[in-house]
Amino acid sequence: MSFLENLGMPGLFNYWVVIFLMMAGFYVVISRGNLVKKIVGLNIFQISVFLLYISMGKVDGGTAPILAEGITSYSNPLPHVLILTAIVVGVATTALGLALVVRINEAYGTIEDTEINDIEKKVEDAE
């Protein structure tokens, strides 16, 4: 299947958008020095990965996976279950990360990576 054929088909289009979103989050994490913003980036990164999973579980013409009379086609329930777990893991990580940010702010008086690095360098030179 050639690239051009694919480009003409919307069958992969939403995956590409999801990849863009993932990379936007990833970019925030690795390019920003503010500790809160890094965690915001991680959240975007993770939510976008969840979207990838949920998109792959969608079945054309399917409905939500709740058994009911007269429905024959359901979307795949397994990605939903996995992502439920992953969302919880994500919020747990966020909570812990923010708790660390609060402590870092107390100890260093800043939440900017560059300033923290300067302070740590000073401490190291003093040792």
Binding site: M23, F26, R32, K37, N43, S55, L84, L98, A99
Partner: protein, 209 residues
Amino acid sequence: MILDIIDIVLLVFLVITAVAIIRLNNLFAVVMLLGIFSLISAVLYVHLDAVDVAFTEAAVGAGISTVLMLGTLALTGSEEQKHPHWSPIPLAVVLLTGAALVYGTFDMPHYGDPNAPIHQHVANRYIEKSGEEVGPPNIVTSVLASYRGFDTLGEVAVVFTAGAGVLTLLGHGFVSRRKRHREEDEIQQEVRELDLDEADIERLEEEDI
């Protein structure tokens, strides 16, 4: 399936929100936008038939996470520093990673394809048999609580770990901890003046007792 208009609109909203988050420096705005990002994705989950996931994302991503972030900002300040110099390395890493992922999509089954391998194997048993094997009409509940109940136990353990972790890090009150920090600093200052080291102090303490 051809993407319908709702999908496209929601995805476009997500992209706009993500770009705004990258560009904005006011952290309050960024956090609120993250809440919006999370809510829009919840709507998208509903549209993709993942109602349980949408419910959780709305409650957790848009609710709890936002509240926690606002709580953090109240303690730390809300303006992000402007970047003194821009480095091309993160952008290169991200472009490379993104390119790899896009490369990987070309052999993927198409979106919504009912013949994709993912719909042919394990999931079928859940759809066909969970009613008679487990009971609940909500297949997600059956899988979550019974077939993959161990994952959910792990998930509860993760929540427990986070609770215990936050308690460990912050569970002693900012005031008392700050006071202790200050006392430590003062003690260290005195120690420096006395030219003692910690082993000395310990010995002195032991003698005191």
